[in-house]
Amino acid sequence: MSPDLERTPRNLLVSERSSFLDQKNRISSQLDQLHFNYKVCVLLPECSSAPSHLDSALNTFSSFYLIRKLPLYELLDTHFLETVRHGGVSGLSYRTRLDEDNCVALMPNGRLSLSLDKDSFELLGVEGKPSRFNHRTKSRFVVCVDLTDSSMAPGGRGYQRLVTGLTSRLPLKTDFLMSLPAGGGASVQALLSRYDWSEHRPEVSSCSLTDLLCPAPLTSDPPAPLTSDPHRLLEWLGAVHAAVSCENSSSSFLSSLVCPEPNKKLSHALRVSVCGLLSHQDVQKLIQEIRVYLSVSPPGSASWASVTLHGFVDSPVSWGGEEHGVLRGGDNFLSLMMFPDQSYLLHLATGAHDTCPP
């Protein structure tokens, strides 16, 4: 038995081609289904600096909070639950690894998902089910609670059981990232005042690239359909965003990645990334601004733009609130290639331990 070394880790890639002008396009709902966004990367060809409206969209992403050593029973605090019931509050445990530790996610629709190891789950004593991604032994369990449900109202049986579990049986404390709807800061001041917290703005970094090799069909006018394998296109895009050389020179063994053929050299391009706990509204707004930028650009300059949205690797949930896992990697990302005629090419990708993207 010789191991099949050419077999790469299993991944799922869904590709879709549509147009923003098509009534039936699902782009909005698809974007909304990736709940926890860590990074958005934008690549603009033939552009050395972002135009002002785009720049302001990039720099006005909403801030988020980092609360250190938050005991989880605080998420069931009566006042906090009121805020959760209004919707829009999302949170994720920070510096917890999905395949090693206990991870927590609070989705904007009020669902709380706890991904626990065996010992923690048995201690907590709340109903849950084994993870879909257990290998042979059941070593990971998932507890899903709908905080907006009537049984989770303060005083309800489900609520009492969970609060008792989190206070006396399994007093979990974790660093917690939280994103609130606009104007929601005041309602959680009481919670924040009890712990060490800090407010952060998503970090923006931009880089102007020169002499960038890019697949030729993208640069033709109108852009020709891409015949190359989507995996190779995404590999090239990933290499550009990760600043990995695509020259495949004989003197370097670090990277043998190349730009898909046929390719063309761009004189300059702009690469921008925003990192943090990003909200859907900000991402949708950014995409809108890029659409406007493409439509008003003179022909022959910007013939395409790419936006890649990365989900958190250690989030217990990914597409549509379904369970997410980490085997050798926990990628879940979305890559949107936009064109001036308002058409787009969308790629939704996940790793081995994940459900199929929508």
Binding site: M1, S2, P3, L5, P9, R10, R95, T96, R97, D99, E100, D101, D117, K118, H135, R136, T137, S139, R140, D175, L327, R328, A352
Partner: protein, 269 residues
């Protein structure tokens, strides 16, 4: 999955080198390491089993694991390289000072004894040379049923191409014999590698993705728990009522020693 563990960090007398190894392990993402004291008894002269250094003397405070907020956990482990049955003394008091116990058998008879009888946690398989014996399914299955695990070291595979061939060949042979039931602990004596790198190396040994990852996490956890049980639980006393109306004094109790440590479990029928 559980936390990543490296249960074979070779002990060196050089304290600063050991400290830097533990720091490297914490930096790579291992949450637990075990310092391995290798003891190779020879017939010629009587040797003392080394006494483990207390962890608090070794390093205080322990470094925090990268990406998490807890410090690394350090255990002590004893590996006995056996060329004779007398080398393993089950009643030795010195073994109790170690958290984990491992044997490295060098003959087929000792391998069989280690799998079926010896009260240990890990059986080390040396894969850098051609083994003098073949793996038989019966002792391997016996070992698995008892909760033992097999350990395959990969450090030589990293350094030397000839040894790499032997390592992969022997490891694959072990997997084939046991039809994937064996869950090895690939761990390096000296050169530490990250847990995901070890997972990838496990693929070369014929493990699947899930098995390779388990080898660095869940399997290690079960070994540590097995060791804790071995050290604490030593016997079962169960009482049987001889007849329903007679007073309690007539109840018989039976003593079943499992191993000669302290502590007994009471079970009533």
């Amino acid at each position: 999955m559980s936390v990543f563990m490296d249960l074979n960090v070779n002990y060196t007398a050089d304290k600063s080198q050991l400290q830097s190894l533990i720091e490297t392990a914490a930096h790579l993402g291992f949450s637990t390491v075990a310092i391995n004291y290798v003891f190779e008894p020879t017939v010629k002269k009587k040797q003392e089993i080394p006494a483990p250094t207390a962890i608090s003397e070794l390093m205080d405070p322990l470094p925090v694991v990268q990406g998490r907020s807890r410090p690394i956990r350090v255990l002590n482990r004893l590996t006995i390289v056996m060329s004779d049955a007398s080398h393993f003394r089950p009643t030795a008091v010195e073994y109790r000072r170690f958290d984990l116990l491992a044997v490295q058998p060098t003959t087929e008879k000792l391998f069989h004894a280690a799998c079926m009888i010896y009260d240990v946690d890990i059986i080390c398989i040396s894969v850098t040379e051609k083994l003098p014996f073949f793996f038989k399914r019966a002792p391997v299955n016996g070992a698995i049923e008892r909760g033992l695990v097999f350990e395959v070291s990969y450090s030589a595979a990293i350094r030397d191409s000839t040894r790499r061939r032997y390592t992969i060949a022997n490891a694959v042979c072990l997997m084939e014999t046991c039809k994937g039931k064996v869950r090895p602990l690939p761990v390096p004596p000296l050169d530490l590698r990250g847990p995901y790198d070890i997972t990838n190396l496990g693929l070369l040994f014929g493990l699947s993705d899930g098995e390779a990852k388990e080898a660095v996490s869940s399997t290690c956890r079960s070994v540590v728990l097995h060791a804790e049980t071995r050290k604490t639980a030593s016997g079962i006393i169960y009482t049987v009522k001889s007849c329903s109306d007679s007073p309690p004094a007539d109840c018989k109790s039976r003593l079943h020693p499992v191993s000669q440590s302290s502590g007994w479990l009471m079970v009533n029928e």
